[in-house]
C-alpha cells in the first residue's frame, strides 16, 4: 500500500504568529485581487451579450434527460 503523509497541525503558539503574518499578507493579496477583479470585469464586459434581458428571456430549451 502507498504511504501517505498526514500534515501535522502546528502547535497553538506557532499558529497565532502564523495567523498574524497570514492576515497581513491576506490584506495585501486581497487588494491585489480586487484590482485584478476590476480588470477582469472589464474584459468580461467586452464579451458579454449586449441586451441581458432579451437574451436571458429568449434562452429556452426543450427538456432533456
Amino acid at each position: 500500500m502507498p504511504e501517505r503523509e498526514r500534515k501535522q497541525k502546528p502547535a497553538p503558539k506557532e499558529r497565532t504568529q502564523e495567523e498574524a503574518v497570514e492576515t497581513a499578507e491576506a490584506t495585501k493579496q486581497g487588494e491585489k485581487i480586487k484590482e485584478e477583479l476590476d480588470d477582469l470585469l472589464d474584459e468580461i464586459d467586452s464579451v458579454l451579450e449586449s441586451n441581458a434581458e432579451d437574451f436571458v428571456r429568449s434562452y429556452v430549451q426543450k427538456g432533456g434527460q
Binding site: 501517505r4 428571456r57 429556452v60 427538456g63 434527460q65
Partner: protein
C-alpha cells in the same frame, strides 16, 4: 468485489440557433453534428483564432436551411465517442475511460468538438445565423437537461445497497460538483444563488424516469456488457462541469465510493430522513453550513458527511488499495484533492475559485453585484450564469477566466486536442475508435458493445465487444498495424 471503474459521461448541451425566426433545436443540433462530420471527412482547416470572421467556403442559394435527415444524425467518432441528437439537444458521450483523469480529458475533448462543430456549422448556415451551445443544465424557465455519469459496477451488489449509500452521497457531493445557479426552479424560492443547476428538478429518490419526476438514483439497466457480471450505474443527478478539478473530483470520488459499496466497506448507514428535500437544502446554501437530518435523528452539514466518506475512503485505500478505482496514483490524487477541497469549504469556500464551478461563477457574479449594485433579480446576473457555460472560446466566461489565469487546469491542451481524434487506450473504445479511423467506410454500425463491419462480401460481420476492458491497445493494437483489410481483421479476431 469491486470491478474496475470503467466510466464515461453523456452531456446534453443547451442549443440555440441565432438569427433565425423559427429556430428548431432538433434542426440546429443536426446541422451542428453533420457539419462536424463533414469537416472531419473533408478535412477543412480552420484558422480558428478569428471566430468572428465569416468563414464561408461557398455561397448558399436562397435562404432555406439545408435539408437535414434528422433521423440519421447519430455518429460515432474516431476517438470512440458518440455524438448525436437526443431530445432536441446535441449530446456527446465520451468513450469508455479507466480513470477519472482520463475522463476529464475525454469530457474536455468533447467541449472542443462542440466548439469546432459551431465553427463548421457557420459554413452550412445562412449569413447572420449561428448555432451556439451551452454546457449547462438549466434554461431558467423550468427546463433541464443532463450531464450523466456512467460507472461499471459489480452486478452481484444488491441495488438496495447502492441506493442506501448513494442517496446521502449524491445529496452531499453537491458542495463540490455543483456548477452554480442564479435563482430557483420548480417553485423553489431561491433568493440569490444555489450550488447546483439540477437540484430543483429532482422529485423522487429512486426511479427509472429521466425527463420528469427525476430520481436522485436512476434505475436504468442497460449494461452494454455481460448482464451477469456487470451493471452500468447511470447517474443523472450531476451538474455539467467546466472546471477540470470539479470534474476530476466528481468522477474520482464517486468511483471510490462505488468501490467501497461493492466491497461492503461502508459500515455505517448515513441515510437521510428525506433525501429529496435534503438535495435542495444543500444546494440552496452557498455557505455550506446548512444541516440535513439523518434517519437516526442526528443532523450534519453536507461537508461533515463528506468528511465521513473521506475518512472511510482513506481507510479503504490503506487496507485495499485503489487499483480498481483507476489506480493508486490517480486514487491518491483524488483523496488529496478531496481533503483540500473539504477543508476549503469549511474554512472559506471562496478560496476554491478556479477549482469548483459554483465558487468560480459566484466570484464573478458577486464582483458584478458589488461594482454595478445589482439586485439578485437583475437579468445581468442570469446572463452571467448562462454565459459562463457558453462553449464558444471567445464568448465563454469560463474561458475568459482560464485566459486570465484564474482557473486551475489539470490537462495539457495538446493532449485535449489529441483526445478529439484518438481513443483511450485501455478500454474497448480503442478498438471502436481505431476501426473508425482505419476503415470508416467498412463500419456499417457501431454501438457500445459491438461493431458491424462490411468485409467486402456477404454476410456483414458483427464483432461483439461485450467486455469493456478488452479491445485495448495492448490487446488489438498490433492488428491495426498488421491487417490490410477489415476482412483480415475479422479473420484474425476469430482465430
Amino acid at each position: 468485489m469491486a470491478v474496475p471503474k470503467v466510466c464515461g459521461t453523456e452531456t446534453e448541451y443547451g442549443v440555440v440557433l441565432r438569427g433565425a425566426v423559427d429556430a428548431n433545436p432538433v434542426l440546429a443540433s443536426s446541422v451542428l453534428i453533420n457539419s462536424y462530420v463533414e469537416h472531419r471527412k473533408v478535412g477543412w482547416d480552420f484558422d480558428d483564432e478569428s471566430p468572428g470572421r465569416d468563414a464561408r467556403g461557398y455561397q448558399r442559394e436562397g435562404s432555406q436551411p439545408p435539408e437535414i435527415e434528422t433521423h440519421l444524425v447519430n455518429t460515432v467518432l474516431t476517438n470512440g465517442a458518440r455524438y448525436y441528437v437526443d431530445h432536441a439537444h446535441p449530446e456527446y458521450s465520451t468513450p469508455e475511460c479507466v480513470n477519472a483523469l482520463e475522463l476529464v480529458l475525454a469530457d474536455k475533448a468533447g467541449e472542443r468538438i462542440l466548439a469546432r462543430s459551431m465553427r463548421a456549422a457557420l459554413r452550412m448556415l445562412d449569413p447572420g445565423q449561428e448555432v451556439v451551445v451551452y454546457k449547462n443544465n438549466s434554461d431558467g424557465k423550468g427546463n433541464s437537461y443532463g450531464c450523466h455519469e456512467n460507472y461499471l459496477v459489480d452486478r452481484q451488489v444488491p441495488f438496495a445497497s447502492l441506493v442506501r449509500h448513494l442517496l446521502p452521497w449524491f445529496v452531499t457531493r453537491q458542495v463540490f460538483t455543483g456548477a452554480g445557479k442564479v435563482g430557483g426552479e420548480a417553485g423553489a424560492a431561491v433568493e440569490g444563488f444555489q450550488l447546483s443547476q439540477r437540484a430543483d428538478f429532482f422529485e423522487e429518490e429512486v426511479g427509472l424516469e429521466t425527463t420528469l419526476k427525476r430520481p436522485i438514483v436512476n434505475t436504468r439497466d442497460e449494461p452494454h456488457g455481460d448482464p451477469q457480471q456487470y451493471r452500468r450505474l447511470h447517474v443523472i443527478v450531476g451538474d455539467a462541469n467546466l472546471c477540470e478539478v470539479a470534474t476530476f473530483l466528481k468522477i474520482g470520488t464517486t468511483a471510490i465510493v462505488l468501490a467501497m459499496i461493492e466491497d461492503g466497506f461502508i459500515d455505517k448507514d448515513w441515510s437521510l430522513a428525506a433525501s429529496v428535500p435534503a438535495l435542495r437544502e444543500v444546494s440552496h446554501d452557498p455557505t455550506c453550513r446548512a444541516t440535513v437530518e439523518l434517519v437516526d435523528g442526528g443532523r450534519m452539514t453536507a461537508v461533515e458527511l463528506q468528511w465521513e466518506f473521506l475518512r472511510l475512503a482513506n481507510k479503504y485505500a490503506d487496507e485495499t488499495g485503489l487499483e480498481g478505482c483507476g489506480g493508486d496514483d490517480i486514487g491518491m490524487l483524488v483523496l488529496e484533492r478531496w481533503e483540500q477541497v473539504l477543508a476549503g469549504l469549511e474554512r472559506d469556500p471562496s478560496t476554491l475559485a478556479g477549482q469548483l464551478d459554483w465558487v468560480t461563477k459566484l466570484g464573478v457574479i458577486d464582483a458584478y453585484r458589488e461594482r454595478d449594485q445589482l439586485a439578485w433579480g437583475d437579468p445581468k446576473l442570469a446572463l452571467l450564469d448562462l454565459q459562463y457555460h457558453d462553449v464558444r472560446p471567445h464568448r465563454s466566461l469560463y474561458e475568459r477566466l482560464v485566459q486570465a489565469g484564474k482557473v486551475e487546469r489539470l490537462l495539457d491542451e495538446d493532449a485535449v486536442t489529441r483526445a478529439m481524434t484518438e481513443p483511450p487506450e485501455n478500454t474497448r473504445a480503442y478498438f471502436r475508435g481505431r476501426c473508425l479511423e482505419r476503415w470508416a467506410d467498412a463500419v456499417v454500425a457501431a454501438n457500445w458493445d459491438s461493431i458491424i463491419l462490411d468485409v467486402g462480401s456477404d454476410p456483414l460481420r458483427r464483432v461483439p465487444m461485450m467486455e469493456p476492458l478488452k479491445g485495448t491497445r495492448e490487446h488489438v493494437g498490433r492488428l491495426f498495424d498488421e491487417c490490410a483489410t477489415p476482412a483480415e481483421l475479422v479473420e484474425r479476431l476469430g482465430s
